[in-house]
Symmetry: C2
Subunit: 132 residues, 2 copies
């Protein structure tokens, strides 16, 4: 199991992200936590840094935003690369793993002698609901 011991700030940030329907920017998180004593961006960025490290949160590069991991039970980051489908209308994000994609990208990097450290896959578009 994961069961990392989170600090107060980390817990607050993770809670805000977990409760949110859509990804949040660091500054939005900051605003949501002003009542809990947050005053400066760094408080958020420091918590996010750890949460990313623990695999409890993902960063969406194409949005400069953050989401709680949707697969916490499985220790998400262990089963390879994660992909995100991001609805540009309602903001909803679906997180998924795909082994074929994963294997194929790994094959490419092996072939080139490229040593991957982190892979970003983000699909922007319209979700089924917004796309009727």
């Amino acid at each position: 199991m994961s069961a990392v011991n989170l600090t107060k700030n980390q817990t607050l940030v993770l809670d805000v992200l977990t409760k949110s329907e859509a990804p949040l920017s660091a500054y939005t998180i900051l605003d949501k936590l002003r009542d809990h004593g947050f005053r400066a961006p760094l408080q958020v960025y420091r918590a996010l840094e750890k949460l990313l490290e623990f695999g409890l949160v993902h960063r969406l590069e194409s949005l400069n935003s953050f989401v709680a991991c949707a697969h916490r039970e499985h220790s998400c980051c262990s089963h390879g690369t994660v992909a995100f489908a991001i609805c540009e209308s309602c903001g909803q994000v679906s997180e998924f793993h795909d082994h074929v994609v994963d294997d194929q990208l790994n094959a490419w990097t092996r072939g080139k002698g490229f040593k991957p450290s982190k892979t970003t896959i983000e699909i922007r578009g319209l979700c089924a609901a917004c796309n009727s």
Copy 2:
């Protein structure tokens, strides 16, 4: 052939990107073009916007930077999603297409009723040269 008629500013920006070994941020481009009369970020962002539209340039989301398209002959964007392998040591970027990845992601989105508009695939790591 593509042969879009570029404006002066678009040509300048594309030239800078084409000559560069590594991706450049908008502000770096701005600095490189001061001698050619560029004074403000917007001059760069406006040119980039068009160049992205024409498929002559790509944006690297994980770097907030831009690269000239490596496949200009083939009208790059026509053959599906592009992926990038980005060396975190030397900055070199390899652009490639992979139909299996492409098809697999399309299968996922079709299955979910998600209508994709733009897909980002970026692999950060170390290139063969930096990874000896």
